[in-house]
């Protein structure tokens, strides 16, 4: 007869206490999603939560990310003259993305920015949910849609002047390229008259792709580029605004890859390269996306 401790251990191991729950593969289709219950995050926006987050972001997160990668941050000048709240709309290829964007923002913006995070991934167990809420000021978002409560939380936050950082692809890219934007972010912008600020992140996939829990060694370069704000037009629908956001994102990506002038010229000629990557076999897409981005060294004034 097993002791109580043995039984508790067996259950803890079998049901993965403190980790993501169990769901055998063959049961995935037949199992109901867990009942909708939003993880509480309001505590992370109290003065104490904000103070702790500022300290963590400033003294732990930023030094850590900046020591493991070599980020370059451009386009923050676009924030000048804009009144919050805004929505930062970024592509998503790595767990580095949220720390990169948040730690790139000037302190007044960073302090008032919340991050939309997948409820099923980041808020499935209490300790992951609590740490994500504290460090990133995250709120849970239902990726499958239908999460009325999480949309309400986002609306309440923007109504109170909080900026939102969202990744409209809904998940990290599997091949490093940018997928289709879902309409949730566009809808929120239109309903609340929020300007969207596109953020293009390049190199994060090469530095720390899906499946890695730590950046690749060698301090790979990463680029974070903020674009000019994009406001919904009068009477514009979700789909149209979402498409404009993708076009703006593609131009920003092109700008980061080449120059602002070239990207604007190509945009005018509607020849901006697609950010969805080349039409090729998957390995070639991954291959291209894994290539570290060119390091932008300042041009030498004096020859060697």
């Amino acid at each position: 007869m097993a002791s109580l401790l043995d039984d508790v251990r067996e259950v803890a191991r079998g049901w993965r206490w403190g980790r993501r729950g169990v769901l055998p593969r063959s049961a995935e289709l037949s199992s109901d999603p867990p009942p909708a219950k939003e993880f509480p995050t309001a505590w992370a926006r109290t003065p104490a939560g904000r103070g702790a987050r500022e300290a963590i972001q400033r003294f732990v997160l930023r030094p850590l990310v900046w020591s493991q990668t070599r980020p370059s941050v451009e386009g923050l000048d676009h924030l000048a003259g804009i009144r919050p709240p805004v929505m930062f709309v970024s592509n998503h290829a790595s767990h580095l993305d949220a720390p990169l964007v948040l730690c790139s923002l000037p302190k007044p913006w960073r302090r008032r920015t919340a991050t939309a995070a997948a409820a099923d991934y980041f808020f499935d167990v209490w300790w992951r949910g609590a740490s994500t809420a504290l460090v990133f000021n995250a709120i849970p978002i239902e990726r499958a849609g239908g999460g009325r409560r999480s949309t309400n939380t986002a609306q309440a936050l923007t109504a109170r002047g909080w900026n939102l950082l969202v990744f409209p692809e809904g998940t990290r890219s599997r091949d490093g390229w940018v997928g289709r934007f879902r309409h949730g972010a566009a809808r929120l912008c239109i309903e609340h008259g929020l300007p969207a600020i596109p953020v293009a992140i390049r190199g994060a996939y090469a530095a720390m792709p899906r499946g890695r829990s730590w950046p690749r060694p060698g301090r790979l370069p990463v680029s974070v580029r903020f674009g000019p704000p994009l406001a919904p037009r009068e009477g514009e629908d979700f789909g149209s605004f979402s498409r404009r956001l993708q076009v703006a994102h593609a131009r920003l990506w092109d700008e980061d890859r080449t120059t602002w002038w070239d990207s604007v010229r190509r945009e005018a000629e509607t020849s901006t390269p697609p950010i969805s990557g080349p039409e090729a076999a998957r390995w070639r897409r991954v291959w291209e996306a894994s290539r570290p981005i060119a390091r932008k060294e300042p041009s030498r004034v004096w020859p060697k």
């Binding site: 007869m1 039984d7 259950v11 079998g14 049901w15 055998p24 109901d32």
Partner: protein
């Protein structure tokens, strides 16, 4: 909407699975790739049960409405299923009582004075007054007990009547009062596909003289399975008897079906798939498991005895027996049927603490055998879940323990008959008559609360098909070695040991299937 049945393939994400083992349960890890058959989720219950009963009685299938069959001066008999159904006993009010109240209400309005209620206990033990009261409800009990609410007595020479013989020479002998009634209303609970239909009256109110025509080894070997009436010789024989009876007697059948809400809230984790257990379910399971292991055997048994099911009723149908039963079977299939792709080499079962013949009693080794090799092995349509020559692994402690009042003939069967041979055919030929006609067993059956002397034989025959099909390759995990050996099987100290022993028979990489039941699942193996 309730989810259909499901076959899980064990992978590294699969938590340990719950396996019943008598008055307890264990968490068991299964080999990767093993299949686990889960029953469909519980179907929603009928919301307004009184309305459903009224509707069934007023709109019967293949019969006039019940009020049209009732008239002053008639002899009305109401027979109903005994304590062997449902399992575990259902929360009160029992569906039998509710239906009987509706029938009596109509009878009272029609001015019927001569009413008799009979527990259709066949050769089972008599129900005690408190058990009857629980089944029929206080109002019915107070009105009819003890004169007009009685147990069936298959050995009462004056209480039985021979109706005739079927075209195959099968004697049909049933309760005299029922046979001589102007109308016999039968109230059934159809827990598994074996129940109901023509099995109700000819068997429930029958005698040994009648039952011996289908409760025998030959019929059991030809019933593939006895949970699939069209392919069951047992049901074929019962149907012939039922049709003969229908020519002599007006029978109004009322059949009910239940959903899979088998265990009450405190044991709710037993109704769920393991990976869907909440933290509370896990805590409940741990608490129940530990409390169960620590408790003295007497307390443990008492706790299990007190379990009552929150069963919901999924259908009430009334009218002519065959027309009703067709609908009943469809309802049972809707709740229990699971499609499974192909047979396996090893079938694993966890046997629970209860079977039809040990309610408020002890599950002796013969009943353990009957539950595993009889009931669960036969829970299939088409072909068994395990291949011919395969192995069955059963989890049950199989204690050498008998209820002295309920199962006296079982004690002697186990000590005398099985000590000599375990071959059902040899047992039938040499011992059955002796036990069936033993005056002491008959006396205990009629006056005490004992199962009939022949009953352990039937339980042994119930497993005859599985024994022959598996060539007696049956392993009991955690079983009492002496008791298991007496039955001609083998005991294993652990599941891992049992698998090793099974591999000697079926090869080194067997296909394993675990039938996760109860709640009940009926497999249709393609």
């Amino acid at each position: 909407m309730s989810r259909p049945g499901f076959v899980l393939e064990v992978d590294e994400r699969t938590p340990p699975l719950l396996v019943h083992e008598g008055e307890g349960f264990r968490l068991q890890r299964f080999p990767m790739g093993a299949r686990v058959v889960y029953p469909p989720d519980s179907l929603p219950a009928v919301r307004d049960l009184n309305a459903a009963i009224r509707h069934a009685l007023l709109n019967p299938h293949g019969s006039e409405p019940l009020p049209e069959l009732l008239r002053p001066g008639m002899r009305l008999t109401i027979a109903f299923d005994d304590i062997s159904l449902p399992l575990p006993p259902m929360q009160t009010p029992d569906i039998r009582g509710r239906i009987i109240e509706h029938v009596l209400e109509l009878a009272a309005r029609a001015g019927v004075d001569d009413v008799r209620l009979i527990v259709a206990n066949s050769l089972h033990r008599r129900m005690t007054p408190s058990e009857i009261k629980r089944a029929v409800g206080e109002r019915v009990f107070r009105s009819f007990w003890p004169d007009a609410l009685v147990n069936h007595d298959a050995e009462d020479p004056d209480g039985m009547t021979h109706i005739g013989a079927t075209e195959r020479g099968e004697d049909v002998e049933i309760n005299r009062r029922a046979a001589e009634s102007d109308l016999l209303v039968y109230v059934n609970i159809n827990l598994v596909p074996m129940d109901g239909g023509h099995k109700s009256v000819p068997i429930g109110l029958g005698s040994y003289r009648s039952l011996r025509h289908h409760h025998n080894v030959h019929t059991m070997l030809e019933s593939r399975s006895f949970m699939d009436p069209p392919r069951s010789a047992l049901h074929g024989s019962a149907a012939r008897m039922g049709r003969l009876l229908a020519d002599h007697l007006r029978i109004f059948t009322i059949e009910t079906t239940l959903n899979n809400d088998t265990f009450p809230k405190a044991f709710g984790f037993l109704n769920k798939r393991e990976w869907e257990w909440s933290l509370a379910d896990q805590a409940n399971m741990l608490a129940a498991k530990k409390a169960n292991e620590k408790a003295p055997a007497r307390i443990r048994r008492e706790v299990f005895r007190r379990i009552v099911s929150p069963y919901g009723v999924t259908g009430v149908n009334a009218g002519e027996t065959e027309a009703v039963h067709e609908r009943t079977l469809a309802n049972v299939h809707r709740q229990q049927l699971v499609e499974v792709d192909g047979q396996s080499d090893i079938l694993v079962l966890g046997l629970p603490y209860i079977c039809p013949y040990n309610v408020n009693s002890v599950m002796n080794p013969i009943l353990v055998q009957c539950l595993g090799l009889g009931y669960f092995f036969n829970m299939y349509l088409g072909q068994p879940l395990v291949r011919r020559g395969g192995v069955m692994i059963l989890h049950h402690p199989t204690p050498w323990e008998f209820h002295q009042v309920h199962h006296p003939s079982y004690v002697d069967f186990f000590d005398e008959v099985l000590a000599e041979t375990t071959d059902p055919t040899a047992i039938e030929a040499k011992f059955e008559q002796q036990y069936a006609q033993d005056p002491w067993y008959i006396h205990l059956y009629r006056n005490s609360y004992a199962y009939h002397g022949v009953h352990p034989f039937y339980m042994w025959y119930w497993g005859a098909h599985a024994m022959e099909y598996l060539d007696n390759n049956v392993l009991f995990v955690g079983g009492d070695r002496r008791a298991v050996r007496r039955m001609g099987f083998r005991a294993a100290s652990s599941f891992a040991d049992a698998l090793e022993m099974a591999r000697d028979v079926v090869g080194s990489s067997p296909r394993i299937t675990y039938l996760h039941s109860p709640p009940l699942a009926l497999t249709e193996v393609r």
